[in-house]
């Protein structure tokens, strides 16, 4: 089911917004104009990912070498600093088994939306989550 959760311009690039939708607490991120939504709950002990610091992704081919890219796309849980990929919800240290739930997020025009609890303007653009 689709939920309109925010006006697209309410989340600046690099920014994040915590919303409630479908009974869930969800954090919506804007990565350079693309929107991504994750359950705002670390799979470890339930820490709020929305309160974590963001950084890039670092990996290494050999000790002393740091390959660093995707700045701003990794969030670290504020409780125990586990890293999660904002695009996928997957952890960096064990992406296959440790992940937080990801929800499809799109930007849609107000004229096609029928929102129940959110006032939309036909000329506006909105972040829509499919939950």
């Amino acid at each position: 089911m689709k939920h309109v959760v925010a006006a697209a311009d309410a989340i600046a690039p690099g920014g994040r917004l915590v919303v409630e939708a479908g009974g869930k607490r969800i954090v919506v991120w804007n990565l350079g104009g693309e929107f991504f939504a994750l359950a705002d709950r670390c799979p470890h002990q339930g820490g709020p990912l929305s309160a974590g610091q963001v950084m890039g992704h670092v990996c290494s081919a050999a000790p002393g070498e740091y390959s660093y890219d995707r700045r701003g796309e990794i969030v670290r849980c504020p409780w125990h600093a586990w890293e999660f990929d904002i695009r996928t919800g997957r952890s960096v240290f064990d992406p296959r088994r440790v992940k937080t739930r990801r929800f499809p997020a799109t930007v849609e025009c107000g004229e096609v939306l029928a929102a129940e609890r959110f006032a939309v303007a036909v000329e506006g653009r909105y972040v829509v989550l499919d939950i």
């Binding site: 290494s60 050999a62 960096v92 064990d94």
Partner: protein, 342 residues
């Protein structure tokens, strides 16, 4: 009774009877320096000669005939010597190199040449270039099956300063053995100098933990993927709890060491062995402890003769594969079959 017939005893200690024993193996300048400098010997506070931990009273004098009787008694087919004469404590790097080489040559002449059941660790000089040279000098002698350092050194064992040594060990397929003991460059605890011998003994375990953490975090096993490390006389019960903490922390701060792409526990399982004397896991907990360890190829039987850790009797922990524990793990690690036939 030969309870360990055919076994590999991975930790035996030859006793240097005195500095004069090394004299024939020293270059003339260093041989004369014994008198010129008034050197009296290199026994260390890690193993005070009078302490029961250093030598059980009933095994005195701890010389080669006594060791041979011990091998006869246990039935061990192979024994690995870890000399603990404190040459590592010498500050002068050249003097340290000279007396360390003399110690290795004394072991070869007085033990390896006399008793074919024996193998030995190359005791490493402190300076990396000296250590590399000593490895290159002795590695062709297949009776030297690993290289040994004291667990409490000058710098943490993972630091890149040591890497030429690890490259040389990997090149020759020799494990690095870290044995309990200290160079006394630092207090034996991170709290400072302690008052009593028992504190020093108990502190060794902390040093092994820190050494292991250093080797992993600095990326030694990433850089040297075939290097194996033997923790000797480390005790073993601490390992799972320590690895749990290290791995738990790694999940949060692995970005500091991105070369460590797998949980540290996995790295340790692949690269680290422990001599099982002292084996400080209660029998009732042994099977659970081994399950935490997750592998049956990490423990090497050792008597630690003539230290007090061994009390005799069949000390095979419940839950281990006896053949691997007594012989197979060490035979594979030290490539003993290959070395005998070579």
């Amino acid at each position: 009774m030969r309870p360990f017939a055919g076994a590999v005893d991975a930790d035996l200690h030859p006793r240097v009877p005195g500095l004069d024993a090394l004299r024939p193996h020293l270059e003339p300048f260093w041989a004369d320096s014994i008198a010129q400098r008034g050197l009296e010997g290199f026994e260390t506070q890690s193993y005070p000669p009078g302490a029961p931990r250093s030598m059980r009273a009933d095994w005195h004098p701890g010389d080669l005939p006594a060791m041979q009787r011990w091998l006869d008694e246990t039935g061990a087919a192979i024994g690995v010597l870890n000399p603990l004469y404190g040459v590592q404590l010498i500050f002068n790097a050249d003097m340290n190199r000279a007396f360390t080489a003399a110690l290795n040559d004394w072991v070869a002449a007085e033990y390896l040449a006399v008793e074919p059941r024996l193998r030995a660790s190359i005791v490493l000089p402190n300076e990396p270039d000296h250590a590399v040279a000593e490895i290159e000098r002795l590695a062709p002698d297949r009776r030297f099956v690993q290289a040994m350092r004291l667990v409490m050194g000058e710098l943490p064992h993972g630091r890149r300063t040591h890497w030429p040594v690890y490259a040389a060990l990997e090149k020759h397929g020799l494990p690095l053995c870290l044995h309990a003991g200290s160079m006394h460059r630092h207090p034996p605890t991170s709290l400072g100098w302690v008052s009593w011998y028992m504190e020093d003994v108990a502190a060794q375990q902390q040093a092994f933990q820190s050494a292991l953490a250093s080797l992993i975090t600095e990326g030694v096993f990433v850089q040297f993927p075939t290097l194996r490390v033997v923790l000797a006389e480390s005790g073993v019960s601490w390992l799972p709890a320590f690895l749990w903490r290290l791995t738990k922390t790694w999940k949060g701060v692995r970005f500091e060491i991105p070369w460590q792409a797998e949980p540290p526990t996995e790295t340790v399982r692949r690269h680290v062995k422990l001599t099982a004397q002292p084996y400080d896991v209660p029998d009732a907990e042994s099977a659970r402890w081994l399950a935490h360890l997750g592998r049956d190829d990490m423990l090497l039987w050792a008597s630690d003769w003539p230290h007090w850790n061994y009390e005799g009797g069949p000390a095979i922990p419940p839950g281990v594969d006896p053949e691997k524990f007594l012989r197979g793990n060490a035979a594979a690690l030290y490539r003993l079959a290959e070395r005998v036939s070579a």
